[in-house]
Amino acid sequence: MSQTSDSGESSPASRGRRSRSPRAQEDGGDTAGDRLRQLSINEGEDRDRDHNRMIRIQYRKLISTVQQNREAMLNSKSNKLTEALEEANRLFDGVSRAREAALDAQFLVLASSIGKEKANELQLEMSAFDSAAFAEDLLTFMGINRTEVEETDDPEDIPGGFLPSDAWQTVGQEALKYLRRAPTFHYMMGSFKSEPPVPKQRIERQKKASRGKAERAMPAQLKKMESSHQEATEKEVERVLRILQTHFENDPNTPISFFDLVIDPNSFAHTMENIFHVSFLIKDGLAKIKLDEDGLPIIEPTKPTRGGEEDNRTGARNQVIVTLDQKEWKEIIEIFQITEAMITPLSQTTEDEMETE
């Protein structure tokens, strides 16, 4: 009470009152403020700025103290809320700008919310509603078995009784008598309950799955094509070798002209392909090319059983680059009188490819 009278009597001379603040925590701030005030009365701006900052610091301190001690403030026996309000009143005397006033308003919001709660609690005490007793009676109503102890590892659980599983049903059944809740639909067969979300999920999954399949199918297809190409090359090389070997065995004494073998008079592209395949045979040492007495290239398969390794080595050491353009190809056909391909085109698809080329 003494504080109230203090603030009442000193409000006209608020500045002077600051120096004899009863609160220890503000002493630092107050003496600083005093010192500043003493410095120079003419340096008004500087002094005001520091003064305002000091007020803001004090307001913030007050607000945080009140927030932290909320429970203590709520205690009906304590006067802490009144004290805090008085202090805010005292601080407000020094306020001259909106910025500080805003802090005052913030404090007021806090103080009034605490005040309201305090008022609420006062009302409770009058009404004498014992929530703990209500809870106990509710548990009894739910059919708690107090002799049986619920087995629980949880320290949070309050021991002392076992609740039947339909405990809340019992309360609910009673509660419905007090609620005018519009009944919700039931399905008499009970089977449509969880139906609606299911098709949605299914549709989503199907979409996802099909999308995934398509994505996966693409690279698979590509792999297939690659591998088939590789296989095709290998197969073709083997086929060429077989053709070469057959011709050689049919007539071992007549050398096979390289041009006779590779040139396809109907397709330049196929000719190129044949040369490409034959080059593998040479590289792998399965066939060898040499020049006959006329200086023309002849080809013959090597005999795999005898001296293969040595031949391989010599074959590997010689690298020959052959150029053959379309003009030369036509000349060769004419000169050597090649009428049909020794290596027949393999399949329809290759023919198609050749035609497009």
Partner: protein, 239 residues
């Protein structure tokens, strides 16, 4: 429907507001048919929409009826009447600013078992207990106080309950959205604290008097035992 017919229907509806039944002859039959159709659609819409117990927005109702119907109010009134007469449900506006509506059971409570899903029944049990606690504690409680009370009933907000699951979510999300509870954050609290009050749906579906009766029954006392609450409940019932 032509402009002429509709405008004619409108003017007659204004003239005969509330007594449609005696004046069907004043309107042309196609108009009546279409009105009936729209009313039925709205009734069905409201019944289905009510399943989730989230208040129905007028905008959504308008969408169902169709924007072009200027006699929307009449359609809503007639739908309300149908709901009352056929289903014993009352269509109520619970928020005049947001224009949201709910349906409440308007028939006297029957004896015997209530047709209600078990899950729903249990939730209603918890709801009434929470509403009781709020009312008895002076119509507004802090979340901390409520959790403390529920803990006594073996309901812990922090961990899943075997009947209710996430209780905090049930109270602060489901019941709040259904407007059974009003949950408002208390300003300037850190960590944030909340204030629980009755929501508008709770006020329509039950009353302070009923809740007090429930508490009295559970505690085996007379409602007059709690003087101030009883006074408050009686005052509400009288108004």
């Amino acid at each position: 429907m032509s402009q002429r017919k509709r405008s004619k229907g409108l003017s007659s509806s204004q003239m005969t507001d509330g007594e449609e039944d005696c004046s069907p002859s004043q309107r042309d039959q196609p108009f009546q048919d279409q009105m009936n159709q729209k009313v039925s659609e709205l009734v069905q819409f409201l019944l289905v929409k009510d399943q989730k117990k989230i208040p129905i927005r007028r905008a959504d109702m308008l969408k169902t009826v169709g924007q072009k119907y200027k006699n929307y109010t009449e359609i809503v009134n007639r739908a309300g009447k149908t709901l009352q007469e056929v289903f014993g449900l009352q269509l109520m506006e619970i928020d005049t600013k947001l224009h949201t509506y709910i349906l409440i059971d308007n028939l006297p409570r029957a004896e015997g078992e209530y047709l209600c899903k078990d899950k729903e029944k249990e939730k209603m049990g918890l709801l009434l207990v929470v509403l009781s606690f709020i009312f008895m504690k002076g119509n507004s409680v802090k979340d901390t106080a409520l959790w403390e009370f529920l803990r006594l009933l073996r309901v812990h907000p922090g961990k899943p309950h075997k009947v209710f699951g996430d209780v905090r979510k049930l109270l602060m999300d489901e019941f709040a959205r259904q407007k059974y509870l009003d949950v408002t954050p208390i300003p300037l609290t850190d960590p944030p604290e909340f204030k629980f009050q009755w929501g508008p749906r709770a006020e329509k579906e039950t009353s302070k008097k009923d809740v007090l009766k429930f508490v009295a029954k559970i505690q085996g006392k007379d409602p007059t035992f709690w003087v101030s609450q009883n006074k408050e409940a009686e005052a509400e019932a009288a108004s």
